[in-house]
Symmetry: C2
Subunit: 142 residues, 2 copies
């Protein structure tokens, strides 16, 4: 697994309020903006900040909590194929992480998670859509 | 404030275990590695993942907690001067954020924080050291 963060995803208790802060307040422009669901903003050459409705976040990532619960954010590492998702999750497992196996997602991608020693969730993702392509490094950068 | 994340900082309960996972397990190479304190790893062109001893994290960011406490991570937006730190914090304040005023830090930088509507802490930082320069965009990218 090469050292890359593709997405930083924050759980938003009230997505409208969080959107108002980043989009209206700070003046940042969304790449993707789905009312009541998610707002995605480019925050680096291959990096996206995703503001995600907390209910949807917890439905996928697990209940947020201080001890055995999930942290209120995830980091994502995007790859170019479904097969790479499984390969990276297997390498994280060998490194000692607990792994939540990848599955097909409603939005057309294939993703799984692992947890680091502090419980931080890393999503390993294949996303064939425009946002997924945005965060992949160019081949020339390899 | 332009849309950029410079650092993702995770609070590590047991930094040695967290370091073992990322450095020995995943095979990632630290840019900075101070035993018992912090491990910093480049995870993007201008992006650093910082694994920070939880006690030090809480001493600076505040106690981690589910409700009024801090989240167990921070995002940082680095700028090229002390004056820009104050300018960005003022713009976040105008956008509705609560602000923790910037101050000189023991390591030679000048940083402050603001909290977004979900309590996520953004550190606005001027860091004149090599890691600080690593995360600043090149002038040609503006």
């Amino acid at each position: 697994m090469d050292p890359r963060i593709s997405f930083v995803t924050l759980a938003a208790r009230d997505l409208a309020a969080t959107r108002r802060f980043y989009v209206d307040g700070l003046g940042w422009t969304p790449e993707l903006d789905v009312e009541g669901e998610v707002v995605m903003i480019k925050v680096g050459q291959h990096l996206v900040l995703s503001l995600w409705d907390q209910k949807a976040f917890e439905a996928e990532v697990g209940p947020i909590g201080e001890h055995h619960g999930a942290s209120p954010f995830t980091l994502a590492h995007n790859v170019a194929s479904r097969q790479e998702v499984d390969t990276v999750l297997a390498s994280a497992h060998r490194a000692g992480a607990f792994v939540f196996a990848a599955r097909d997602r409603d939005w057309g991608g294939y993703t799984g998670y692992f947890g680091d020693p502090d419980g931080v969730r890393w999503e390993i993702a294949w996303n064939p859509g425009p946002i997924g392509l945005l965060v992949l490094p160019d081949r020339s950068e390899h």
